[in-house]
Amino acid sequence: MTEPFFLSFLKALVVFAIALGAVPALVLAERRVSAFMQYRVGPNRVGPLGTLQPLADLIKMIFKEEVRPDGASPWIFSAAPAITAICALATAAIVPFGGVLVVGERRIPLIVADVEIGVLVALAMSSMAVYGLTLGGWSSNSKYSLLGGLRSSAQMISYELTLGLSLISVLLLSRDPEGFGSFGLRSAVETQAQGGLLSWNVFKAPISFLLFTIASFAETHRLPFDLPEAEPELVGGYHTEYSAMRFGLFFLGEYAAMFVSSCIIVCLFLGGWHLPFVADEVEVDGFGALLQLGSFLLKVGAVTFFFIHVRWTLPRFRYDQLMSLGWKVLLPVALLNLLVMGSLVALKVF
């Protein structure tokens, strides 16, 4: 399964461009959607319909003064936001943006890293992203930051359990071409594509979908789980002392994580690039690949719209409510769900 290096490099560039390009789009979408939800207009001065607003934000962040608190360890202080951003963007490597592109006699799967351990890479990267928060909070040498950082990390590692358990229960349903189970997202999408619309995992495993989505909200620190960055409570939590480009990196990491989480939710539960009658086949030519990519991005857009919508609709959880939800409600439900899904698969219902 070896590929020429230039091909992998090209795919990596394209995926990187998509992921990085999604971030300003999401920043703008968040501000416009929240504005419309709150019966106001949102940014519409810079560029047509405010489309150049993220560029203006970027220019502002580049030219702002970088303030570093005294007593903060310089290496760790600068590295912490980079860790979050890198882990979020690296997860985009295992996402299948399309099926298999057939060019001449060469079959190119439209995924950067077609490894057998697909979603484990996503889980591993989200485990490593915890370091960005912890180190950001600790290296700022400030009480608010340390508390915010530790709370953030505790929240993330608590919800990783639910994430993992709901992931297992939905991976039971996916098969690779040889009939074995697989951790790869490509197998999950192809299993759903070959079954048609009703075989999307959101219909077969709805509780897993719910659990995974809630856990993704907690992992990406989106409301209602964003207490660690909430201004009234902790003055900004782990990114209190960060300014200019370092803060911009934290920001980028957060939105990239939201984008990549949505991609994984779409691949696991909503059929990935599959759309009945439009993007049906696994092996496609150039135009079919574009249709697959288009339907994938459409679904990702819908899920991110859901993320944004929930943020501006629900109130924030208090920290103890958040932790008790994660440990006392979601974890038992995830375990029971795993038991039920395992039994159903063993009884050959699926």
Binding site: T2, I76, V115, E116, I117, L120, V121, L123, A124, S127, M128, V130, Y131, T134, L135, W138, L146, L150, S153, A154, I157, F180, F183
Partner: protein, 171 residues
Amino acid sequence: MADLPFSFLFFSTVALTGAVNTVTHRNPVHAALWLVSALLGIAGLFLTLGSAFLASVQVLVYAGAIMVLFLFVVMLLNLEASMFEGLSSGRCASIVAGAATVALILFPLVEDDSLWTVPEPRFHAPASARTLSQLLFHEYVLPFEMVSLVLLVAMVGAIHLARRTRVSEGA
């Protein structure tokens, strides 16, 4: 030495520098971070050995959960700088002990010539997720269940040990 593959050299350098810095740094937080980098280097070495599953488990569990726990405890204990100690007076004895261990382990190895050959085939990955899972649930199912029991016992024990006592104990 010249014909070792680049991936092995790279990851082993990461692991060794991480290990050396772990045992030498005075500040526990810095030492913990160097240990994380050593663990990531070892995960890379697992990758070169063809076991992508073990590499991701190493990153997920060891570098991502165990070391986060270490960092939590180190940060929450909030040790004063005066409590940091460098290598103490027992340094010579400990270096000798370390070197003696290495020599003891290495002595039979460098004698055996058959261990210097590289096995074929190149992309064979015997420790893939599939083979590991088949072994784990068929031959090693009893150790698997026992390990889960060990984890349960450790969890209960850790919670009990770290809990604040309500009644103050007499000295």
